[in-house]
């Protein structure tokens, strides 16, 4: 309905600007720079550094071009075997 898709945003932890004291704050500022309304669905700390959120294609492309963003990967659906 909102032509948004879920993406998993992989951040390069080592590129967090020193002005931030906390990764989540950096993630949130990055996200808000491409979308006022997008919320983080999850933040990840152990298996990746990053978060998931819903974005339009255009917002996803804008986000991917920001410094410190490693990759904006579309969510995949897995099935039980």
């Amino acid at each position: 309905a909102d032509n948004k898709k879920t993406y998993i945003i992989h951040m390069s932890k080592h590129h967090m600007p020193t002005s931030y004291s906390d990764h989540t704050q950096w993630y949130d500022t990055s996200l808000k720079s491409v979308s006022d309304s997008a919320e983080m669905i999850y933040t990840y700390h152990n298996v990746i550094h990053g978060f998931s959120t819903r974005l339009t294609d255009q917002e996803a492309q804008q986000l991917e071009s920001l410094p410190g963003i490693l990759s904006v990967l579309p969510e995949l659906r897995y099935e039980l075997h």
């Binding site: 898709k5 879920t6 998993i8 992989h10 390069s12 932890k13 080592h14 669905i41 999850y42 990840y44 700390h45 152990n46 298996v47 990746i48 550094h49 998931s52 819903r54 490693l70 990759s71 990967l73 969510e75 995949l76 659906r77 897995y78 099935e79 039980l80 075997h81």
Partner: protein
Amino acid sequence: TTRTPEFLGLEQNGNLFPQSDKEGDVIIGVLDTGVWPESKSFDDTGMGPVPSAWNGACETGTNFTASACNKKLIGARFFAKGYEATLGPIDESKENRSPRDDDGHGTHTSTTTGGSVVAGANLFGYATGSARGMAPRARVAVYKVCWVGGCFSSDILSAMDKAVSDNVNVLSLSLGGGTADYYRDSVAIGAYAAMEKGIFVSCSAGNAGPTSFSLSNVSPWITTVGAGTLDRDFPAYVNLGNGKNYSGVSLYRGPTLPDKMLPIVYAGNASNSTSGALCMPGTLIPEKVKGKLVLCDRGVNARVQKGSVVKEAGGAGMVLTNTAANGEELVADAHLLPATTVGQKAGDEIRKYVISDPNPTATIDFEGTKLGIQPSPVVASFSSRGPNTITPEILKPDVLAPGVNILAGWTGAVGPTGLADDTRRVGFNIISGTSMSCPHVSGLAALLKAAHPEWSPAAIKSALMTTSYTSYKNGKVLQDLATGNPSTPFDHGAGHVDPVSAVNPGLIYDITADDYFDFLCALNYTASQIQLVTKRNTTCDPKKTYSLGNLNYPSFAVVVPSDSTGKSGGTTVVKHTRTLTNVGSASSTYKVSTFSDSKTVQISVVPNTLTFSQVNEKKTYTVTFAVGSMPMNSNVFGRIEWSDGKFMVGSSVAVSW
């Protein structure tokens, strides 16, 4: 599960894992559809306190409170935000927004890994026995990431993120997606991080067999598990009016058929639909099937749904026949009416009789549970097959484990068929898939972790692989049910697991996170792709030569370059190095034996003797594959085995053009 402990030799070797009290310290995390905590398999009688390392939780949600957990089921979490972001809020009339299992799959897999002993377990009297998980004293923590509409990667990743910080020791994932490259695959990425934390990750290989190149979860740091059969069956014979009879399987229990031959009709001739033979909902003409047995073809809709369709149309029973896609594979179902499943050959014979005879009749004889079935194990037709589509130089699947007609715990939310009109409720159910073989390996890994707490995930995997068997006691190679022929390493990987041997493998092929990093460099991954998988900000060393063949993998897959690389004369030479670590007796001497199915592939090993003088000592050897010309898409298989007369350290070899 019942029968698999005996089949795997675990019952006969109860004292096998001397530090079995350590088993209680091992925590198995299961990502699936959640859990039915009332299952008897989560009885924690006699279990000691929860391990101090445990950092997880028992989350509260709909119909699930923290009191549902105990010293067996020590953790339960659910992850729905990704699913709901895409599909909208969970429909609580259909499923519980909590760790509670509404499907049964998650209870089945989690109890298979580490369920407590439950005497007299059965499904309607079938497969009766003492059910127990592979590691009955291990702890279980479930992470519900699969919902009615599927399993979404943002949820899976969050669950893996949590499982790592909860301090599980083993992760079991009976799920898969398409074959995305490692850096795009959340399961692969999550598994890499888990491996770095010393967590063993096993995944189902997929049920897309017998087609080649059909595997899921092929990362080298994941143990990819295919499915084999047990020595147990549930025969249900079809007797035809022409005096012939054919064997089938069934888990039907209920009102018996009348003690006489019944008319039998082919569904394709009792329907107005062009696909009438498939017994899809609404396609059978009641007047044509009432009181009769109906012959249905497998395919498209669920097997048990076909039975329900026949029952609804007034049929007395069903004979379900395999088609070419499933061959002779016989997966038993708890049908709602008297029904049996027969293989393709029998099905073709029966269909011929039913269509040609003017008054075809038949009946079904249900024989219950039969043990000692041979040959077993055989590779299940549905078990996904190699070669590895992402990295052909890594031989996959890794191992086979029991995955056909496996009894284990079930949910109380649905019946054994999962159908809406199945109002029966059972404590145990019998289902099939690589979803069932994966948790067997997860549980066995927990046993090995308990016996060898210092072993890395790669060491555990190596022990399971190099002690697997690829042939029966009579020397014949494991059979592939799909063809009736001997299976190959693309079907059975290193072979069928043998945990009794795995606890003492003699030598192991260990692999560190740095080795996997080098592997990604050998794949020519970009720095960004490498960072996606490894979270490391370091780059590959431009001065270093990386080679896929040098990952210290316990099996070998050689891809013959189509260009002149390594060619001299008509022969291509490919070299792989491996390093073996001594985990057996301090001083030992191993000699190598090599086998090749074809003269086109000559395998030589230098040195051909490895002498160890202490435990944990490492020795390196080089394998040279001298390969002649073969047509494209040819495969030749072989083996490399090291033995000191007591231990056998075996590796499968696959050479592909």
